[in-house]
């Protein structure tokens, strides 16, 4: 569909070679990615970067795992890469148990991200004009030392074939952007971003998603609040109710539910790097993870999610899997190999960052399902608390229990009303205690599907685009204002 007969023939040739060499299993994933990044800073273009990367990765089992990647598209190149993958598999067999993969339905199919406007077909001039206007809107005060805004788009074409007969072609499109200001008054510095920090927000949609972010309409207000933060009171210390806005709650879900429900972590295969998980298989369907109103799913089918696709990089069709249901830990994100070890279905979460890397268990869209509250109602019914907004700092232990987050801004709530802006807000807790204290989740109307484009995992390090849908939620008696600030 996307690359014509020559590429398909090469991939098929590789599969034939794997079969001929007696591979127990093999797959080949061709990958052609295109990215466009535009960064505007202080009225000038900091960077316009356009990159292309093409190649293929070969995964093979022959008494052990082997993986080799190459960007040599000749028959000889494929032969060399197959040979290398098999040689590596042979080396792995020196310390490898028998590998089993859970059965899956084998597909021959195509998939394309639904989109209205191809972001790569929109002229550079139009994007630059818009970003320059956004930059200009933020230029309101001498205390603003850095103004930044950006546009990012990715287009990826994947072809997947396996020795089991799978043939899948996909075209994925992702778009997004954001803005931020850094302010400084000679003593303190603060940062404020929209719609979120670290580049903004992203979806699997076309240029229409970037347009709908309304950066221009939010530029001035964001800059003003950045300046106000310099004069804001320091976050109080103590225990109180906290309300997480969706940009921060998305990261809370990511760190404290997304990562610990990755089965590879739970089984120890990431122990030496990212760590393990407190959600071990013996706790499945037993452990109370959170309040009964907490329902979290891994949903690769969510419309527009940054982690939405047709098939994962093992050929498993995109699906929606329960992770937390009515507060109970009920499911994992699992590869075919991991699923076979614990007797589960593969969840369709195996994804690789580019052609040169091995697929790993990666989040798709890890979504907190909406509750029944109105967003305003949560604030109105809070006697004393803090609303946290805009990711700034995050840290969590290697089993995903003790976490500490800091956001760009906090809003003090007293007797049901917002009474002031506070700076350097932080909160800390232990994961299950925190989710058990959740007593209000806003409804569908306030539910937002955010994109996190920079989730890191694996060795060599891989970066993945994942999604998190949620509506603002409240948590009771959480410790805030950590550390010494004077």
């Amino acid at each position: 569909m996307y690359h014509g007969a020559s590429m398909r023939n090469l991939v098929e040739y590789g599969i034939e070679l794997l079969e001929k060499e007696g591979a127990e299993y093999g797959d080949i994933r061709f990958f052609d990615s295109k990215t466009e990044n535009i960064n505007v800073k202080n009225g000038a273009v900091e960077a316009i970067k356009n990159s292309n990367s093409r190649g293929y990765g070969i995964r093979v089992i022959k008494r052990g795992w082997g993986f080799a990647s190459s960007n040599d598209f000749t028959k000889e190149g494929m032969e060399e890469a197959v040979k290398r993958a098999l040689k590596i598999a042979k080396a792995s067999s020196k310390a490898s148990e028998k590998i089993e993969l859970a059965d899956i339905e084998i597909h021959e199919d195509t998939y394309e991200t639904p989109h209205k406007k191809d972001p790569f077909k929109i002229g550079l001039e139009e994007k630059l004009d818009y970003l320059m206007d956004v930059d200009d809107r933020m230029n309101i005060d001498d205390k603003i030392k850095v103004r930044k805004c950006n546009f990012n788009a990715w287009k990826t074409i994947k072809e997947f074939a396996s020795t089991e007969g799978a043939k899948i072609e996909q075209k994925l499109i992702q778009t997004g952007g954001g803005l931020s200001v850094n302010v400084f008054d000679g003593e303190d510095t603060q940062k404020r971003s929209y719609p979120n920090s670290f580049g903004g927000d992203f979806n699997s949609r076309g240029y229409e998603f970037f347009e709908n972010l309304e950066l221009l309409d939010n530029a001035k207000e964001t800059a003003e609040e950045g300046v106000e933060l310099l004069e804001a009171d320091q976050c109080p210390k103590g225990n109180m109710d906290i309300i997480l806005n969706t940009n921060q709650l998305a990261l809370q879900v990511h760190e404290s539910c997304g990562h610990p429900t990755e089965l590879d972590r739970a089984l120890g295969t990431e122990a030496s790097y990212a760590g393990t998980s407190f959600l071990t298989p013996d706790k499945l369907n037993e452990l109370r993870y959170g309040d009964e109103r907490v329902n979290i799913v891994a949903d690769a089918t969510a419309e527009g999610g940054l982690g939405t696709f047709g098939y994962d990089d093992e050929g498993v069709k995109a699906k929606k899997v329960d992770l937390i249901r009515n507060g109970i830990f009920v499911g994992y994100q699992a590869s075919r190999e991991g699923a076979a070890k614990v007797g589960l279905e593969p969840s369709g979460n195996m994804r690789a960052d580019g052609w040169e890397n091995l697929p790993l268990v990666r989040m798709t869209n890890i979504n907190l399902e909406p509750g029944s509250w109105e967003k305003d109602e949560i604030v109105e019914e809070t006697k004393k608390g803090i609303i946290f907004d805009g990711v700034k700092s995050w840290s969590i232990d290697d089993k995903r229990l003790n976490f500490q987050f800091g956001t760009e801004a906090g809003y003090l709530v007293e007797n049901g009303e917002i009474s002031g802006l506070i700076k350097n807000p932080t909160y800390t807790d232990i994961t299950p205690d925190f989710w058990k204290s959740c007593d209000a989740i806003a409804g569908e109307k306030d539910w937002v599907l955010h994109g996190v484009p920079n989730c890191g995992k694996g060795e060599p390090p891989q970066t993945m685009q994942v999604g998190h849908g949620c509506a603002p939620a409240r948590f009771n008696e959480i410790r805030v204002g950590v550390g010494k600030w004077n």
Partner: protein, 455 residues
């Protein structure tokens, strides 16, 4: 196509001749990475990957465009140049851009390249991993984890001002962790070693260190949060140096008023025994001798006798200040992270680790930190947790293992509260960037632990 200097020159000459831009930069990188990962005492991921990338920066006046491709056939090269030029033509001018570097002075060394590292085979890596697994088994541990990576890289830079450089680099990195008591989820231990020469990786010593730590880390007791003296092993110090680097050691962070060095140059901000410098030519260091713009890396004394002394520059940040030259610390441009100190060393002191322990009345011994993140970069406040072996030290002796603790600490205050610096240092790779750190152990007083976890 053979990936050598002559071929890279041929490609870059063609681009430089063909280009209509006022200035042009060609960067070619080649990485041949092999990595064997093991978990639960089995090899579970084992990869070999090769990639060659061409990146072009085209400049018209002060308008810059960049494009890259990993395909080096004639059409792709032409497309890449065309794209970079098209972007540049449609760009806005950047008044702060003063031009590509034209510094052509020789570099001290042409990289560090060891054939035996480049040629290290999957079988050799697997055998070493097997040795570590067997060594742990002798102590009854059947849960061993880690990664053994060998890499051979090549960096070629040329620009229209006559800069033309090529260097090779090899690195080998071995990590090992153990979980000595899997059933009770305890007994975590760690070992790590990095070198340009794979023959210098003493895999059994790395494995033994991890095993010993794991066995000595059973039944950890909970410790209350609070302020304690800490003895940080070299790896834990490296974790802090990484964040000092990212929060404050670059000209960009100073120019953008987000560095803890702002307004402090010439002032004593750390203990007078603290000397931190970036120096790729140091005998303990590995790295390319020039940066990603082809500028030779200069030794930069960032903290000198505890005084905030200087920061690192690329050509862009140097161009924003009067009479400043790049120190040779550019990342692959354009990069919002550039410049970055990529070969950071902290000077050693006079203490052995044993002496630090012997002289401690009550304190905490830390193997390494996990998931650190700045809470407030200008104040230098960092948070993170201990990992893979933390012990209570009392009356000069290691008393017992303790459960991991979270710290939230002003790093400038911490480096101003140093009681002792280790007499030896170790080399570590950063992981995400091609950056390396050589760090000694440190004893620091009143380190702020703000939370505890359950293991």
């Amino acid at each position: 196509m053979e990936l050598n200097k002559e071929n890279f020159e041929e490609i870059s000459d063609k681009i430089l001749n063909q280009s209509e831009a006022d200035e042009i930069e060609v960067r070619i990188t080649h990485n041949d990475t092999a990595l064997t990962r093991y978990a639960n005492s089995q090899i579970h991921q084992n990869i070999g990957r090769k990639d060659t990338k061409l990146a072009i920066r085209a400049i018209f006046g002060k308008k810059i465009g960049s494009a890259s491709t990993n395909s080096l056939n004639e059409d792709s090269i032409e497309n890449c140049l065309d794209k970079a030029e098209k972007i540049a033509r449609n760009q806005r001018s950047d008044p702060d851009f003063k031009g590509l570097p034209d510094r052509k002075e020789p570099v001290d060394k042409e990289g560090v390249f060891l054939e035996r590292t480049a040629e290290y085979s999957p079988d050799e890596r697997a055998e070493k991993v097997k040795d570590i697994i067997d060594l742990a088994k002798e102590d009854g541990i059947d849960r061993v984890y880690g990664a053994f990576k060998t890499e051979a890289s090549k960096l070629f830079i040329a620009n229209s001002h006559g800069v033309k450089r090529c260097a090779d680099l090899t690195t080998a990195n071995l990590t090992t962790s153990v979980i000595a008591d899997w059933d009770n989820d305890q007994g975590f231990g760690w070992g790590e070693m990095c070198s340009a020469d794979v023959a210098e990786i003493d895999h059994l010593s790395v494995g033994k260190r991890a095993v010993d730590k794991g066995l000595n880390n059973l039944n950890p007791k909970k410790m209350d949060e609070g302020e304690y003296d800490v003895i940080l092993e070299p790896l834990a110090v490296k974790d802090l140096l990484v964040y000092l680097d990212m929060m404050g050691f670059s000209a960009k962070s100073v120019q953008e008023k987000r560095s803890f060095m702002n307004g402090k140059f010439g002032e004593q901000i750390m203990d007078e025994r603290v000397n931190i410098h970036d120096d790729v030519s140091d005998i303990d260091m590995v790295g390319y001798p020039f940066d990603y713009e082809g500028v030779p890396k200069k030794k930069v004394d960032i903290i000198k006798d505890g005084v905030a002394n200087e920061v690192v520059y690329d050509s862009y940040t140097a161009g924003r200040e009067d009479e400043k030259e790049s120190t040779g610390h550019a990342l692959p441009m354009p990069s919002p992270m550039s410049p970055l100190a990529m070969n950071l060393l902290m000077d050693t002191g006079t203490y052995s680790l044993d002496e630090m322990i012997e002289e401690t009345k009550k304190g905490i011994l830390v193997t390494r930190f996990n998931y650190c993140n700045p809470v407030h970069p200008v104040k230098g406040i960092l948070t993170g947790l201990t990992r893979d072996g933390t012990w209570l030290v009392e009356d000069g002796e290691i008393k017992h293992p303790i459960k991991n603790l979270r710290f939230t600490q002003n790093l400038i205050e911490a480096f101003d509260s140093i009681e002792g610096i280790g007499e030896e240092r170790e080399l570590f790779a950063m992981g995400y960037f091609p950056a390396y750190f050589a760090a000694p152990a440190l004893k620091i007083s009143d380190f702020k632990f703000t939370g505890t976890t359950e293991f």
